[in-house]
């Protein structure tokens, strides 16, 4: 019975073995986890945000644990697009799973330059545009519909690959931003990025993060993320990748019932590197138990009368 369940997912042209992805910034370049898990079992890997030049990231401390959550202020510490091409992407071609490159820039121009640098590079299944990093300066595109649409248009022009726009939850109405990205040419929307937040050390009276504020991720934010995925998936025609606090198959299924065609696992990788793999199995069992033959059958079927 279990065998007959079809988990394959076509996310805007990215063909995945299953709908469970590893979220940007939480899975490195796949290599570190390779000794702990079988990367091939995961639907796709989204790489850490890459920028035009290498970036050092923020002053430590960069992490604080909060109730059922993790606050981070990494600050897009990365090796830069040229090193990515030279050192990482070649090795990833044999990863056996689609690789999605996540890009970030301080302004439209930088985004465009990164996407240009990636043109014709082999072994990239898709591009995720990070409009929403809470830990760096620059325009927060995800908080302004016009800016978001403009950015997508510019990236779109240079990019033949499937294009995923990654949104921030810190907005009044996320459907407006999602629609703007759709209009700008995005092939899919992914949400949510971590939530702007902070924590204070009452003894030193200083912020617990070197960067003062950071982004909240993990189970704490899951109910917020589920609602946003539900709203966005009703508002746009392109597929949605849901994330935010997914720890288990049941969490992933919540997102899919709410309308996510695929899901991404972030913080949970740190807690249990096998999470994504276990979720793939769990979704399979759920589908089989409930008489579904294909994972697409549960996408958006939430009965919200």
């Amino acid at each position: 019975m279990r065998e007959s369940v079809d988990l394959t997912t076509n996310l805007a042209g990215i063909r995945m073995r299953n709908p469970v992805m590893a979220a940007s910034g939480t899975f490195g370049y796949g290599e570190e986890y390779a000794s702990l898990i079988d990367v091939k079992k995961i639907g796709a890997i989204v790489l850490k945000s890459v920028t035009l030049k290498p970036r050092d990231g923020n002053v430590p401390p960069r992490l604080v644990e909060t109730p059922a959550g993790l606050l981070n202020a990494i600050g897009i510490h990365n090796i830069g697009v040229e090193a990515l091409k030279a050192e990482k992407l070649p090795g990833l071609r044999d990863a056996g799973t689609p690789v999605i490159v996540n890009i970030w820039g301080e302004n439209v121009n930088e985004f465009v330059k990164v996407i240009e640098a990636l043109e014709d590079v082999e072994g990239i299944a898709g591009i995720e545009v990070n409009l929403s990093c809470p830990n760096v300066g620059g325009t927060l595109f995800a908080q302004d519909a016009a800016a978001a649409e403009g950015l997508l248009e510019n990236v779109r022009k240079k990019c033949a690959l499937p294009l995923i726009a990654k949104l921030s939850p810190q907005v009044t109405d996320i459907t407006l931003i999602a629609k703007a990205c759709e209009d700008g040419g995005a092939d899919a929307i992914s949400l949510i990025n971590s939530f702007p937040a902070m924590a204070i050390d009452v003894e030193t009276k200083r912020p617990l993060l070197g960067n003062v504020t950071g982004g909240l991720s993990g189970p704490a934010i899951k109910p917020i993320a589920v609602k946003m995925v539900w709203e966005v998936s009703k508002a746009v025609k392109i597929p949605v990748v849901g994330m935010g606090g997914i720890m288990s198959a049941s969490d992933a299924i919540e997102f899919m019932l709410a309308g996510a065609k695929a899901v991404a696992v972030g913080t949970a990788n740190f807690v249990n590197p096998r999470t994504a793999e276990e979720i793939v199995n769990g979704i399979g069992n759920y589908l089989a138990k409930n008489g579904f033959s294909s994972v697409s059958q549960i996408v958006g079927v939430l009965d919200a009368r």
Partner: protein, 284 residues
């Protein structure tokens, strides 16, 4: 990655020694490496907690920890037979050189945790090599001790927090003690013991673990005498395996170029002269 607890005892006020059944992954562990432990199956606390490998006795891994917050508090309540989710060994350990002597080991407070394993390993220099070749696993412990000049300096607040003295002695190390209040050994900091020790005889290699202020002093003293010094550092960790870039500290390379390095993967043991101490300590 589920491992069974064999014992978990309070050996000093608030300090526990826990031994878990864990061999497949652990047998190749090097001193200075750590294990990453999930203290609760709930979402709070969410993250794993890093603890240095304190002892590696065939089939088992021992850790030594102080209860400081909710993670370690939960750990301290685990009982024999309970199962723990552990990843590891992780990180890069102490880079020991076979021929250099004397080796000086400096432990401040809980810093003793990784250093006992280091001493065990130093005294059985080729233990790992042999293990991989011929010896059956359960006979590793019975390997003969080497005769090496290993000097262990232990410091703590008071007598009751001087840990592992007997274990080091049994291995054949010389042991000197300092306590802040003079309740045992010399009164004062362990860094004074160290100062005396290297004044008397220049060390071949120095390995230290303890409070940051102490490590910085040991690093400075070692630098003054041009002695190689390795320190084991702590930092708040996310993944523990090198992907999140959350645990970084700023270091300078031999070429003078500074940059962030990951405590979990490039460390936790660093060459003390590469650590930018001011920056490291001010940010904690």
């Amino acid at each position: 990655m589920k491992q069974k607890i064999l014992s978990n005892e309070e050996i000093a006020p608030g300090i526990f020694r826990m031994v878990v059944n864990m061999w497949k992954e652990a047998q190749k562990a090097c001193p200075g490496q750590f294990v990453h432990i999930r203290c609760s199956s709930s979402n709070d606390p969410l993250l794993r907690r890093p603890l240095s490998i304190h002892e590696l006795i065939p089939e088992t891994v021992g850790v030594l920890y102080r209860v400081v917050g909710k993670g370690t508090d939960l750990l301290s309540k685990k009982k024999r037979g309970d199962v723990l989710d552990i990843i590891g060994p992780l990180g890069c350990g102490f880079r020991t050189k076979p021929a250099v002597e004397p080796v000086v080991i400096v432990a401040g407070g809980m810093g003793v945790a990784p250093l006992l394993f280091l001493a065990q390993s130093l005294m059985n220099v080729d233990r790992h090599m042999r293990a991989k070749q011929a010896l059956p696993q359960n006979r590793l412990a019975s390997l003969p001790l080497q005769r090496r000049d290993v000097r262990v300096l232990i410091g703590a607040k008071t007598r009751e927090f001087i840990l592992c003295e007997e274990e080091f002695t049994k291995l054949g190390c010389s042991v000197d003690i300092a306590t802040d209040d003079g309740s045992y050994g010399q009164e004062g900091y362990v860094s004074s013991l160290f100062e005396e020790s290297i004044r008397k005889k220049k060390a071949g290699q120095v390995f230290a673990c303890g409070p940051n202020a102490m490590l910085r002093e040991i690093a400075a003293m070692s630098a003054r005498r041009a002695v190689e010094c390795h320190v084991s550092l702590e930092s708040r960790m996310g993944c523990g395996v090198g992907v999140c870039l959350g645990c970084v500290i700023k270091t300078k390379g031999k070429d003078g170029i500074s940059g962030y390095r990951r405590v979990c993967r490039d460390g936790p043991v660093f060459d003390a002269q590469t650590v930018l101490w001011d920056e490291f300590i001010s940010r904690l």
